[in-house]
């Protein structure tokens, strides 16, 4: 039976599913006994599953993440929650030097199947150190699977898949998606490595690829573009590493125009990467316009509402870029 749920509810359902069905799952991080900062997405987990399995922690990102890595090596499936990516950078050694390489450097004899939930929590005049979206960094690292859902059903199903994956997974969660709603059926676990970019809307004139929350903006833009007679195909990347491009290439070959929209900075970001992937894999004659990207303003996040207005991408920015291609 289909039901409609929000993204935040999707996350909560995933946690409930995992904690109920998998005794080796536990959750650890700051704020878990009072998870006000993640909306409803973790409500009452500590009450339902006990404070032994839903563990609030000292302000020690590095050791807490390392502890989760250690527990994952010993058979557990921990989810570490970092309320903000900005704080999580303190734990990068454990994520990138340890977890991502554990399997490879030990010749496959051990794995570190930890899931790290890094939350992008921006806007609201929070400023330079509370607004970062560093997903492109993690996508750079072989050994780490990087997941960034845009829709409620994906939020739920990809979180389940992340925790059940035998690899370390960076699950990136954008607060701006939390109210997004979609239809779901009951949870049927999928294999994370089988997940491909998803066509959210079909179209013929241009392929607009979104990443995380940007995919929702792309949908919005596509609706407006229709009024201008432009039929946009919208694709949601979903998995940032290892990256799969088959669906994207197929779409670009059809539409002959390609725009990537990402809420991260430009240089060495996900948007440029996808342009490069497309360019190396199609023949130039398949394109009728130079590929374009729409990215975050290349500056630290401001606090002033006046500047925030300019700083973040809006769907109209996407529409404008698309229109220059015709």
């Amino acid at each position: 039976m289909k039901r409609e749920i929000s993204y935040a509810e999707g996350i909560l359902e995933a946690f409930n599913y995992l904690l109920t069905n998998h005794q080796n799952v536990f959750v650890i991080g700051q704020g878990l006994w009072s998870p006000w900062y993640v909306g409803a997405s973790m409500k009452d987990l500590d009450v339902k599953y006990g404070k032994e399995r839903v563990i609030d922690s000292p302000v020690s990102e590095l050791a807490v993440t390392g502890a989760a890595v250690g527990a994952s090596i010993c058979g557990y499936r921990p989810v570490v929650v970092h309320p903000r990516m900005d704080f999580m950078v303190l734990a990068i050694d454990q994520i990138v030097n340890q977890a991502a390489k554990w399997r490879h450097m030990f010749g496959g004899k051990s794995i570190a199947p930890v899931t790290i939930r890094g939350i992008i929590n921006r806007g609201g005049e929070q400023g330079a150190q509370h607004s970062q979206a560093l997903h492109s960094w993690f996508a750079h690292v072989p050994g780490l699977r990087v997941v960034m859902p845009a829709t409620a059903d994906d939020a739920r199903d990809l979180l389940v898949a992340s925790v059940l994956s035998d690899d370390p997974v960076m699950f990136i969660d954008d607060r701006w998606c939390y109210e997004h709603k979609s239809q779901v059926v009951d949870i049927e676990p999928v294999r994370l490595d089988s997940v491909e970019p998803r066509v959210l809307k079909e179209g013929n004139d241009v392929t607009i690829l979104g990443i995380g929350y940007s995919s929702l903006l792309c949908l919005e833009a596509s609706t407006n573009l229709e009024k201008d007679g432009i039929s946009a195909e919208v694709i949601d990347l979903r998995i940032l590493n290892p990256i799969k491009v088959k669906n994207i290439l197929k779409s670009v070959e059809k539409t002959k125009r390609f725009v990537v929209v990402d809420g991260g900075w430009t240089n060495c970001g996900m948007a440029g990467e996808l342009i490069a992937r497309v360019m190396e894999n199609i023949s130039i004659s398949d394109l009728s316009a130079s590929p374009k990207r729409v990215t975050l303003t290349d500056a630290p996040a401001p606090t002033s509402s006046n500047l925030e207005e300019d700083y973040y991408t809006k769907s109209v920015d996407i529409e404008q870029v698309v229109k220059t291609m015709f």
Binding site: Q30, G31, W33, S34, P35, W36, Y37, D56, S57, P58, V59, S60, E61, L62, A63, D86, F87, L90, G124, E125, Q126, G127, A128, Q129, H130, T297, D298, A299, P300, P302, T303, S304, S305, N306, L307, D310, Y311
Partner: protein, 340 residues
């Protein structure tokens, strides 16, 4: 020692021996200014005018006022996420704070930082940032600069009990201790990190034990006693200037508002109404006022005048902040890199 953590104690009037009436009045004035400024912010968070996250330190005013009373403009002071008091205690610049919180051009960081990024280099306030513990190594580096430039500067790092759970804190203390750096570490131990009481985060409530492990001289004092803090800091800062060695001061206090925002009895979902009631008795302002009245240094009337005049300053300043303009759009990109 244990009594410091028990709100039943340290609720009486302060000892004021050795302080002149002018100095005591300055303490009172400064604490009331901070209290009322933050209450103004609380009011405007509640009514929705302020959007920027604000961490209010109501109840903790004695610390910044006591510490700042012994500093020079050439000293280098660093704050954290809850730093309105650190800023105001040095400069009383209501306009700079209010405008900054509203993201206005006239703010202390030209509206680019908000509540969590305050700066006033003219008085040595070198910046506050909300990444927990981040300014501890930075202040330690300011002390390294002070050691190299031999001008007798002292670096000051303000941070909370939660920050001592970050590795950066311990690394910094070791660096300062080993390399003999002139830095004053001020730990405002308010027993909470966001919603979590210290007993759920550490095996002991007394933070100064870490200074001991790094062989740094330290003391644990009543954080709501401005005269004692001032007196003790004077000694500590003199010692630092003379020996180039770090000093660690733990100040036990309690915050009256929630972790972030305006609420009183709720802390990011955690109710603590009863506790708060008791801790309010340790009010640093009331305890100084009592001492001033009992010692006849000030009358209740003159204290009322102080309140009234500060109310007025705050009202005027807030108006100016509200009327201020937003930063120019080009700041967004123009401030990323230096022009040199």
């Amino acid at each position: 020692m244990d009594k410091l953590f028990d709100p039943k104690y340290f609720n009486d009037e302060l000892a004021i021996e050795g302080f002149g009436s002018q100095e005591l009045t300055k303490f009172l004035d400064a604490m009331i200014l901070i209290r009322k400024a933050e209450e103004k912010l609380a009011e405007n968070i509640e009514n929705g005018v302020i959007k920027c996250p604000c961490h209010l330190g109501v109840g903790q005013e004695a610390i910044a006022v006591g510490v700042s009373s012994v500093l020079r403009n050439s000293d280098k002071v660093f704050g954290a996420h809850r730093s309105h008091s650190h800023f105001l205690a040095l400069n009383s610049d209501l306009d700079g704070l209010f405008s900054e919180v509203l993201g206005k051009e006239s703010g202390s960081s030209k509206g680019m930082g908000g509540s969590m990024h305050l700066i006033d280099r003219s008085v040595g306030f070198e910046g506050s940032v909300p990444i927990v513990s981040a300014t501890i190594p930075i202040a330690t580096g300011a002390a390294l600069a002070a050691k190299l430039n031999k001008k007798g500067e002292v670096a000051v790092a303000y941070f909370g009990d939660g920050a001592t759970e970050e590795g950066a804190f311990h690394e910094s203390l070791n660096l300062a201790s080993t390399h003999k750096l002139p830095v004053l570490y001020i730990c405002e131990n308010n027993l909470f990190s966001s919603h979590l009481h210290i007993s759920l985060r550490q095996p002991s409530q007394r933070i100064a034990r870490f200074a001991e492990s790094h062989l740094i001289e330290s003391a644990t004092l009543d954080g709501n006693n401005v005269t004692e803090i001032s007196k003790h800091c004077q000694k500590a800062v003199d010692k630092i200037r003379n020996t180039n060695r770090p000093y660690f001061l733990e100040l036990i206090t309690y915050r009256w508002k929630g972790h972030v925002g305006y609420r009183e009895d709720m802390d990011v979902g955690v109710k603590r109404k009863e506790d708060l009631l008791v801790w309010r008795n340790r009010d640093p302002i009331r305890r100084l006022e009592l001492a001033l009245i009992n010692s006849k240094t000030l009358t209740q009337d003159s204290i009322n005048d102080i309140h009234a005049s500060i109310d007025f300053r705050i009202k005027e300043s807030w108006k100016r902040a509200i009327d201020g303009v937003f930063p120019e759009k080009n700041n967004l990109l123009d401030l990323v890199y230096s022009k040199k």
